[in-house]
């Protein structure tokens, strides 16, 4: 960390502000701690590990649906935040995160085009965010699982590491969209293919329960979305670093 004294000062200031203010201000930096077990995975990212240690280049491709973006402020969405945080954590590594949005496509439809995308961008790591559109369309969970499996297998064959990212926690639509079958099936595929699963759903639920974010808010502004994505990007960078066994301290 190059700015330790500054950071400590900043943290002290924030702590002071929090202690002084009776209610947390809306625009304060988001407080979004994640339970440790959500940030670690038994599965590894060997390709990322060699890429970081060897050629010091890390090309990450995020393949996702609309929940991987924020309308009209793309840079604040989690892929952009991931790039910023990885660059900060690994200053000697050339990190590049690109995004391919596959809007209104089921996992099965996306899976077919994954290898082509991977050939085009030559990523070391593909982060595949999926499940929401399948849940909305209530695709048969077995078909969904088969689609995710095909995609993951194809990517692994193409020689990239893969992380699966599941649905958002969305309390307002909980009675309309049934997430559990899709969450379960993604967990199964991750287990069977020994790849890390970034449990976005559990994290957002944790933040909601802890009162960090009011995810039922009817506010129309992009502010909440930006803060949530910032937290997701931060958690994701920690997750990648942990699963790839990269020690940020050694990179300095």
């Amino acid at each position: 960390m190059k700015s330790n004294p500054v950071m400590i000062l900043g943290l002290t200031l924030i702590a002071g502000l929090l202690a002084a203010a009776p209610v947390r201000a809306e625009d304060a930096p988001a407080n979004c701690e994640v339970p440790a077990y959500l940030l670690t995975s038994e599965s590894k990212l060997p390709k990322v590990e060699t890429a970081v240690a060897g050629d010091r280049r890390l090309e990450i491709l995020v393949v996702g649906s609309r929940s991987s973006s924020i309308p009209s402020s793309e840079a604040s969405a989690y892929p952009g935040r991931l790039q910023a945080m990885l660059k900060e954590a690994l200053p000697k590594v050339a990190v590049n995160v690109s995004v391919e949005l596959q809007v209104k496509k089921t996992a099965e439809e996306v899976a077919g085009g994954l290898v082509k995308l991977a050939e085009l961008k030559k990523p070391t790591l593909v982060i595949w965010q999926t499940g929401t559109y399948d849940a909305i369309r209530s695709i048969d969970p077995d078909d969904f699982r088969a689609g995710v499996e095909d995609g993951v297998a194809a990517l692994q064959k193409a020689g990239t590491d893969v992380i699966l990212m599941n649905l958002q926690y969305s309390p307002r639509t909980e009675t309309m969209i049934s997430a559990p079958p899709y969450l379960d099936n993604m967990r199964v595929v991750a287990q069977q293919h020994d790849i890390p699963l970034f449990d976005r759903f559990a994290m957002m639920r944790h933040w909601s329960d802890a009162g960090d974010f009011d995810l039922s808010s009817t506010s129309h502004g992009p502010d909440l979305a930006k803060r949530v994505h910032d937290c997701l990007g931060r958690a994701l960078s920690k997750f990648v670093i942990d699963a790839a066994h990269v020690n940020p301290a050694q990179q300095n």
Partner: protein, 409 residues
């Protein structure tokens, strides 16, 4: 000491068997099996709690401690009581009358389902007009159904479009539709009927039978698979439980059940404490997962059987606690299952809504659950009171009591 068979089937099972005219035996009328009401009431409470977002009370629901959950209890007891009530009607009044009564019940359940659907439509419309958070642009895609209300409503009436948490009633409707055939077969050869049911279940897994849903996918509860539990309930009600008594009272059965329940408990523990995941052998995981709820996985069915066997063994029919006022709310809820089930689904909707509006924390959550259960119990009490007074009036006029009052379906 009374045998387990007596506890299940009521005191006069042997008398009924002695007459031995039909292939099935029915316990005497009048004597209500309070344990059935108790556990159906419990299932209704648990279904309500499970339909709310997770909160403290969720930790008391059985799905956290094993494979099966309240749905299994509900469907099994529904099969049991439906066979009990309409089986008697079939023996006394014949196939046609019994079928007509069952169809009337099916119609009631169908209307209840449509009623719940209109409430769902109102809720989704409200969210569509008032909630426009950029974080959830994608999730709002669910509102596309509102763009084609004609199609959506027709599909809902055909039971093909079913909102979240509204899957149990369509399953129940289909199972009840086939109840006349099940009962007719049972009257002929109960064991053969159960065998056919098992065969259909096996065929469902072998040939992937399902009912398609709208806009995609299949019924969440596959009736081809779940009929096994319903038919098994009917079989138990019509004398099967009596014939199984030797198995049920054997200590070997008891220990197998305990061992299985314990194993299931450890497996579920690894779901809630992912830190324990390393204890699970990979081979076992690959063989076991996913545990299908849609097709009533054998592991779930076995888990329910084990729970039921243990319950029947340790909770006696004549346990005085069944008459205690503390269990009265549960029993009343179980006695009016259709009304209370629908009320529970509605209250879960309302609970979600209040939680979202108030952004309530754990305290609010707990309050909603408790208030919901109080409302369900209060409603069950009112219905009971009304039916009792209506019954008295009917007796004065000499009308025939109807099957619902005996707890039908």
């Amino acid at each position: 000491m009374s045998s387990i068979a007596d506890q299940i089937a009521g005191p006069s099972a042997s008398d009924a068997a002695a007459t031995s005219a039909p292939a099935i035996t029915l316990p005497a009328a009048g004597e209500r099996e309070l344990r059935l009401d108790l556990f159906r009431g419990l299932a209704l409470w648990l279904i309500f709690i499970d339909h709310l977002p997770a909160n403290i009370l969720t930790w008391f629901t059985i799905r956290n401690y094993g494979f099966s959950d309240a749905t299994e209890i509900f469907i099994f007891i529904s099969g049991y009581t439906a066979a009990f009530v309409y089986g008697r009607a079939m023996l006394e009044s014949g196939f046609v009358i019994a079928t007509a009564r069952i169809m009337r019940r099916v119609w009631q359940i169908y209307v209840a389902h449509v009623f719940l659907f209109t409430i769902f439509l109102a809720e989704i419309s409200y969210v569509a007009t008032n909630f426009n958070n950029p974080l959830y642009t994608e999730e709002m895609g669910i509102m596309d159904f509102l763009k084609q209300p004609d199609v959506t409503i027709i599909q809902a009436l055909l039971l093909r479009f079913r909102p979240v948490n509204m899957d149990v009633l369509p399953l129940y409707i289909v199972l009840m539709l086939f109840l006349p055939i099940i009962l007719w077969l049972m009257k002929w050869r109960p064991d053969v009927s159960l065998g056919l049911s098992v065969a259909l279940y096996a065929a469902t897994w072998q040939f992937d039978l399902y009912l398609s849903a709208y806009p995609n996918g299949t019924w969440f509860f596959n009736p081809f698979a779940w009929q096994l539990l319903f038919t098994f309930g009917a079989w138990c009600a019509l004398g099967g439980a009596v014939r199984m008594s030797a198995i049920l009272s054997s200590p070997i059965t008891m220990w197998i059940c305990f061992a299985y329940l314990l194993a299931a408990f450890f497996v579920t523990l690894t779901w809630h404490l992912p830190q324990l995941n390393f204890l699970m052998p990979k081979h076992l995981e690959q063989w076991m997962y996913p545990i299908s709820k849609t097709d009533l996985d054998v592991l779930r069915f076995a888990h329910f059987l084990a729970l039921a066997a243990i319950t029947v063994r340790f909770l006696r029919k004549d346990w005085p606690g069944l008459k205690s006022p503390w269990l009265r709310p549960l029993i009343l809820c179980g006695q009016h299952s259709l009304e209370i089930f629908c009320l529970g689904v509605f209250l879960a909707f309302a609970g979600h809504f209040v939680l979202a509006e108030t952004s309530g924390g754990a305290g609010m959550h707990f309050l909603i659950s408790v208030v919901g259960i109080l409302i369900m119990s209060g409603m069950a009490w009112v219905i009971s009171w009304y039916k009792n007074s209506a019954d008295k009036n009917a007796k004065k006029k000499g009308a025939v009591g109807n099957a619902d009052m005996a707890g039908g379906g």
